[in-house]
């Protein structure tokens, strides 16, 4: 039997690594809420990969670390505490585990190494104009023609499609009585003829989401995950694996710490005392909520370690921390908004926003609104909770 893991020593090791090996400019980008892109993520992923930490959640045989849930949780916490970027998730946390679980040996060999090293960049083709929270209503179709599928349709909210190589995509291959059936998962190269990617202008002034149009796109059948018509199962598997994501409250606590420093700096001096104290009080209330969420997060990790069910914990964590993130961002906006909000420009209005130092606080406030919308909106989470509480 293996020796028991010394989690404190592990935490020290990860912290030491993060502080010494993550390039200062990358940590500075995270600390100042710069929008993360492949240019920032890739060098960090390369460093982690070369250290053998490329995939904390993968089994060793596929190049992962083989860490247990507590180690992964500690790793994620330390990354946030040290201002290191959270690893780009679409490959490592989403499609990678699906390929490991359901992929053919050829698919594993072809796709996993690129995800691990960061050479290949992935995005998620799930949402459509008429299938957001109600994902199973998706209408993008794939028609079998020999050894190929012909894909027609449109995806939206596709984060990072503009800098990705591949899109794992849910398409409809047949119309069944139950709309969750007849859905298939395809891996589509984004340089395929017939694909058009258009940026969506978002309220935060950053470019991160896109519309992806698929016009008669030919996809080899070899790029299908698992069985035809079973895509919903694989998509659900992917989401199930993400259920512990909300257990890591460290990013929110870091967000709080940065905002507290902002308030102290921006509102120093006696003339600002009342305003400063009002904002400090709001941050204290946010901190109190986060401490409760952190306690629940630890319960969730302990439950997973013991093989116990998580029940409603993921929904509770998602609901409460998403709102607290927003509250903290509002405090930051109230600290600097008076002088910065009026200088927040439309991207196409000439001159980059970067000309106003600190404008990221305003952008981040806008961006944070998405927290209660994506990953199962607050309303969906409340439906889930109520269904279980009421027993129907």
């Amino acid at each position: 039997m293996a020796a028991p893991i010394d989690y404190d020593a592990f935490r020290r090791e990860v912290t030491e690594f993060a502080l010494t090996r993550c390039p200062p400019e990358i940590r500075a980008a995270v600390a100042t809420y710069r929008k993360l892109s492949r240019k920032i993520w890739y060098p960090w992923q390369k460093i982690l990969y070369e250290h053998g930490w490329g995939a904390p959640s993968w089994p060793k045989e596929y190049g992962g670390t083989g860490w247990d849930h507590r180690q992964r949780h500690i790793f994620d916490e330390v990354m946030a505490e040290c201002d290191c970027p959270p690893q780009y998730h679409h490959g490592l946390r989403h499609i990678g585990p699906v390929i490991i679980q359901f992929g053919t040996p050829e698919q594993k060999q072809r796709f996993l190494p690129g995800i691990l090293s960061g050479k290949d960049w992935w995005c998620q083709g799930y949402s459509e104009p008429n299938a957001g929270s109600d994902l199973a209503s998706l209408r993008t179709t794939a028609r079998r023609e020999g050894n190929e599928y012909i894909v027609e349709g449109q995806k939206t909210w596709t984060s990072h499609a503009h800098e990705s190589d591949w899109m794992y995509t849910l398409v409809r291959t047949s119309k069944e009585a139950k709309k969750q059936q007849g859905i298939t998962m395809l891996l589509i190269p984004l340089d395929s003829p017939g694909i058009t990617i258009r940026p969506i202008r978002t309220i935060d002034g950053w470019h991160h989401v896109n519309e992806v149009f698929l016009d008669h796109v030919r996809v080899p059948v070899a790029n299908r995950i698992g069985e035809e018509g079973q895509g919903w199962t694989y998509g659900k598997f992917l989401l199930e694996r993400e259920r512990l994501g909300g257990a890591n409250v460290a990013p929110a606590l870091k967000n709080l710490e940065r905002t507290r420093a902002l308030v102290a700096q921006e509102l120093a001096g006696e003339g600002n005392r009342l305003k400063r104290e009002m904002l400090e009080h709001r941050l204290l209330l946010a901190e109190a909520e986060l401490l409760g969420a952190r306690a629940l997060g630890r319960e969730a990790v302990a439950a997973v370690m013991e093989g116990k069910p998580l029940n409603l914990l993921p929904s509770v964590l998602k609901l409460s921390t998403s709102v607290t993130h927003q509250h903290i961002a509002e405090v930051a906006l109230d600290a600097v908004g008076g002088r910065l909000a009026p200088r927040f420009r439309r991207v196409d209005a000439g001159g980059p926003n970067a000309e106003a130092p600190g404008i990221e606080w305003v952008q981040n406030y806008m961006y944070m609104r998405v927290r209660t919308i994506y990953g199962g909106s607050s309303e969906v989470q409340k439906n889930v909770i109520a269904k279980q509480l009421f027993g129907a």
């Binding site: 400090e280 909520e289 306690a295 109520a386």
Partner: protein
């Protein structure tokens, strides 16, 4: 299966306390005469004394059970869920904690507390005055110490025998005053949450030397610790009550039919309950962790407790208010146990430091740290 709350601390003591709480709450709700209600409370007080509740945290050398925080937590959690309107935290935890700092004769006093013979009311620094009279003050006059002023709304056991007071600016003292001492006046009443309270007026009464149990900075330290212990146990009581409130609200909404359908079919109400649950869970997590931290250490983790008590103010009031709203007109009556529990949770905020008190001390500490850095 509909929701059933998991107790923070379960076990036989929890079950017994809950049973007694439910019984007392029901008995009290059936009475309208205030003298009968007072007699009813006294009967339940005698029952819990006989069951040894007040001996729980009293050391064995003083005739107690020498129990710890977990034992106290089980009692207040059970009592909180049942809605027992007796000062369990005060009598079983706060009073013994204060008396632990008394000098000679401490064990004899604690022995009386353990049996329930001594029924003690505690007045901690910062106790409320009524705004018209002056606050409680201890002053030296002609070589003697004199108590003056009023305190109001002090939670009390039935028929209090003594007052335990922490006061004095120049030198803090711990005083134990017989409730029938000359110069002491008070009016007792049942608070809206069913608990007994008393207003006390000290008409310039001279302090007898034998009343002084302890003096010096140690008194202040112990008083602060007793307050934190009280705050933590109040949080445990509150979480426990909130779990029961949510269960009963779900039950009400599932059975109450309006517009031809059960209220539980309306999404607006289901979402309110989901929000109640999220707030409850968040507080349960925080209080559970604080209880574990407090049990594992010799001194109470005051910051954790302050955050938990602050959140009891926020989350507790939210759950109570939403429960009232979900019950519609019935939420404005005291007919249902859920609403009586909701009222209790609202009142519990003001015991052992409300949310603004806790926020102020946390912000003050943050300021001290920032200035020191």
């Amino acid at each position: 299966m509909a929701f059933t709350a998991t107790p923070l601390v379960g076990g036989d003591a929890f079950d017994m306390a809950q049973r007694l709480g439910l019984e007392a709450d029901r008995a009290l709700a059936s009475l309208v005469d205030s003298a009968e209600q007072a007699a009813c409370l006294r009967r339940y007080w005698d029952s819990i004394a006989e069951l040894g509740w007040m001996a729980t945290a009293v050391p064995e050398e003083a005739g107690g059970a020498g129990g710890g925080l977990a034992d106290l937590a089980a009692l207040v959690a059970g009592a909180g869920r049942g809605g027992l309107p007796l000062p369990v935290t005060l009598a079983c935890a706060v009073v013994p904690a204060l008396l632990a700092g008394a000098g000679e004769g401490r064990n004899a006093l604690l022995a009386d507390v353990a049996t329930g013979r001594a029924r003690i009311c505690a007045i901690l620094p910062g106790a409320a005055s009524d705004g018209t009279g002056s606050a409680l003050k201890l002053a030296a006059s002609g070589g003697r110490l004199v108590l003056d002023g009023t305190v109001v709304g002090v939670e009390t056991p039935p028929d209090p025998t003594h007052l335990l007071i922490v006061c004095g600016e120049a030198e803090p003292v711990l005083l134990l005053i017989p409730a029938d001492a000359r110069g002491l006046a008070g009016g007792r009443y049942q608070r809206i949450d069913g608990h007994l309270a008393q207003d006390w007026t000290f008409g310039g009464m001279a302090v007898e030397p034998t009343w002084i149990l302890a003096r010096g900075e140690e008194v202040t330290r112990r008083a602060e610790e007793a307050r934190d212990l009280g705050a933590l146990l109040t949080c445990i009581e509150g979480v426990s009550a909130m779990g029961a409130i949510i269960e009963q609200t779900i039950d009400y909404l599932s059975n109450r039919v309006q517009f031809g359908v059960p209220l539980s079919s309306f999404q607006a109400l289901r979402h309110r309950v989901a929000e109640m649950y999220v707030e409850y869970e968040n507080l349960r997590g925080l209080v559970g962790q604080t209880l574990r931290a407090a049990s594992a250490s010799d001194c109470l983790p005051w910051r954790d407790i302050a955050f938990a008590k602050l959140r009891l103010g926020e989350a507790g009031r939210f759950v109570a208010q939403e429960a009232i709203q979900c019950h519609g007109g019935m939420g404005m009556t005291e007919a249902l146990p859920a609403i009586r529990l909701a009222r209790r949770v609202m009142m519990a905020e003001f015991e052992y430091g409300d949310r603004t008190f806790q926020a102020a001390r946390l912000l003050a500490e943050a300021r001290r740290c920032a200035e020191a850095a």
